[in-house]
Amino acid sequence: MFEQAPKRRELGYQVKLDHFEGPMDLLLHLIRRDKIDIYDIPISHITHEYLSYIEIMKELELEVAGEFFVMAATLMRIKVQMLLPKRAVEEEEEDPREELVRNLIEYRKFKKAADHLAGKESSRRDVFVRPVPKYIEEEDNTPKMELSLFDLMDAFKSILEDLKKEISYSVEVDIHTVDEKIDFIHKKINSNSEVLFTELFEETVGRVEIIVTLMAILELVRRGFIIARQMSDREDIWLYRREDSKVVEK
């Protein structure tokens, strides 16, 4: 009696929409298709077209991602704002479309950039290089996690706590300065480009020197000269020169 026709979803197939990754793609598609000037989008036309696509997607039982509805709401909000009478000229009012247009233009650039990368990927796949020989382990011991100043301080805290437990009978003479240690670390890192955190303490004698070394490391990290990295928690900490981190300068 309550039997219903099985929904199509239950028939076991559902197509995932790949053509339009997201709402921005759909909008850019419509803009291109209708040869619309992106700086002057006819908002009610585009809203209408956009909604009709969503209808089609629903009709085809495609899974419509939530983002599509968020965008639909944005479009309708803009449409309403455009209809409202403009207030007096006293304040420069932003075109309600402005943010959307800015986002679309930004995204469009990266889509082009992605095309460029795809081209590079294709041509790289046409040439071949030697694979890792079977009897050699693949090399991947480069630490990836960059440690913040606070992570480092945590690490130092535990070192200092360990130190407290050791009772030292030797008389310490404070001959170490932070500047001296900074020079020392600089030299170490410049010759190796990376240095193991613990390596810096191999020759340290006594509490004061250890603390001074820690302060020097903190200072260098703070100044942005070095970065501390770690594979994961509790692993060795490596220190790197900053320029080894890649930055696209454009």
Binding site: E21, Y107, V248
Partner: protein, 242 residues
Amino acid sequence: MKNKKMDNEIDKQREHTIEKQVEALLFASDVPLSAHKLLMLTEAPSLKYIKKAIDSLSRFYSEQFRSFEIVEIAGGFQVTTLPEYSLTVKKLYKNRRKSKLSRAALETLAIIAYKQSISRSGVEAIRGVSCDGVLSTLTDRELITVSGRGDGIGKPFLYSTTKKFLEYLGLKNYKELPSIEDFETEIEALDILNSKLKNSEEDIMINNKSEQAATEKDAINNGKLERDEIEDRTIQDISDEH
């Protein structure tokens, strides 16, 4: 005089040895080797020798029409087969190659490459869709990595591209990528071209219409006979309707 000649002789021999060492290393390595690394691994006394060896090898391969070359990738040198042998070698690796990156992955990768140190929400704000899955795919393929933590709520992970990224795309360095504004210029140029095309299409349509009108007019003016025919036809049409 004689001494100098001998020195030269020794130097030549040394260069030759270094060249072979560089070749052996490039042949055996699975990753691009930087000039510094080659300097460390060979007997070369300075970078100049490495550079010389690579130049000489490159010249030799091309003069001998070998099927491979030395290319500069990700800040290093690597031996690769030439693109014209791609079909041959692809047959060897049939069904064993990793798939190409998806559109979503490429877009995400492009954003990270140009922004460097960007959080997931930063990427999502640009793409307008959730990027969780894509980020983990790219991380798994070691094309991106967590490079730090942001200042925002919950100190989000920041992502940057890796050396593998350069390797994967065969890029020498980041400077080899066009600037992001270049893409905008390209898009705008295309837009202008398109709107011109659109306009000229419209022009053609208008022209066609007026041409058509003109021909009809001509036809009408062309002699009485034709006009009579037209009139006849019209009369005929009308009587048909009745």
